[in-house]
Amino acid sequence: MLAALLLAARLTVPLDSTVLLIRVLDVSDARVGGDAILITDAGAGRARHVLIDGGEHGATILARLTRLNVDTLAAVILSHPHADHYGGLGAVVSRFPVRAFVYGGTPRTAVTYRALLRALDSLRIPVVTADTGVRRVTLVTGDDSVELRLLAPPPTCGALPGDAGGDAVNNCSVGVRLTRGGFVMLFPGDAEQAELGWWMLTEPSLLRADVLKGGHHGSSNATSAELLDAVQPRAVIISANGRQHPFASVLALLAARGIPTYCTADNGTVTVRVPRNGAWTITTEREGKCHARVVRN
């Protein structure tokens, strides 16, 4: 009981208006999970939230958001249309007012995905198709701002070769580069080597970041020595989807470089706190060490 109360207190910690919170939510649920990241800026006197991806299950993400007192979403960003990233978003856009929806415009045949697109249309939510160039979503408060640069996929992403086990949809991910003051965090979606290589070639300056949300749930096709050289992260957060991630080879690569690594499957929700002035910090819902779910390269 006491542990539950302490856990609730940690998750619903009162907002300090000078602190930006980035929560990589634990949405793992019976071997199904995916990605869901909640960015909360309280600088305007009340919390403004941006959600990147919505996990796979509507009930799971709704429970997480409700527990964190979310009542509206300034923006929802879908990195790419795989069910473990968009599956919960139909419930999200139906439950909460959403001021803008961002995605890459990749068509998929899944009935649930097409239903999500229909819901966006019927709810008349402004939709940004970030399929070219670098566009921005900016939360402005006085002289402070939180900028989300949207890294578009390559124009031919649908035809890029996927590694074994991957597919072209991963390589059509919309990346997000968050900056607040001198702090930078990179969210590459499930981009694999082909798309990451294209970003390294065309937008290398936009990849450097203090914190990296590990791509593709810690798969080896999304974290390489070359990427780590480009990003130079001081910490990596992996949102494991419960099936077979993260890979042992990725954890070994990060450990060899001495990069602190956090995994939602082992640590629960991982929170990055970014004060307006001062050093950023990372806290976790549970203590624990990242464990590999698949031992292979």
Binding site: R31, V32, R48, E56, A74, A75, H82, A83, D84, G87, R99, A100, V102, G105, T106, P107, R108, T109, A110, V111, T112, Y113, R114, L117, R118, L120, D121, P126, V127, V128, T129, R135, R136, V137, T138, L139, V140, A164, G165, G166, D167, A168, V169, N170, R243, Q244, V294
Partner: protein, 91 residues
């Protein structure tokens, strides 16, 4: 009378295929269970004849249904693109 279901391939995860079942939740199935040519976005018709000692499951790629679903998806994306506010978004 065989029971009918519809899979749509969401993605491959290693040796697994993640399929959307009857327009609802997803299911992990071994890739060897599906036709060799099955790819993400394919519509698969699943016919199940369940007997006492033997159940026969037939999974067939529905090329025509896949094409219809692809066209509908493209149309939905194009429709939303016309609603893009353009440039950056300031909130």
């Amino acid at each position: 009378m065989p029971e009918s279901h519809r899979f749509i391939v969401d993605r491959h995860e290693g040796d697994l295929a993640v399929v959307e079942v009857d327009g609802g939740s997803t299911l992990d199935v071994p890739r060897w269970l599906l036709p060799h040519a099955a790819r993400p976005d394919d519509v698969l018709l699943v016919s199940v004849e369940q007997g006492t000692d033997r159940t026969v499951v037939t999974i067939v790629r529905d090329v025509a249904a896949t094409e219809r679903a692809r066209a509908a998806a493209r149309q939905a994306v194009d429709h939303l693109k016309r609603r893009d506010p353009g440039a950056g978004v300031i909130l």
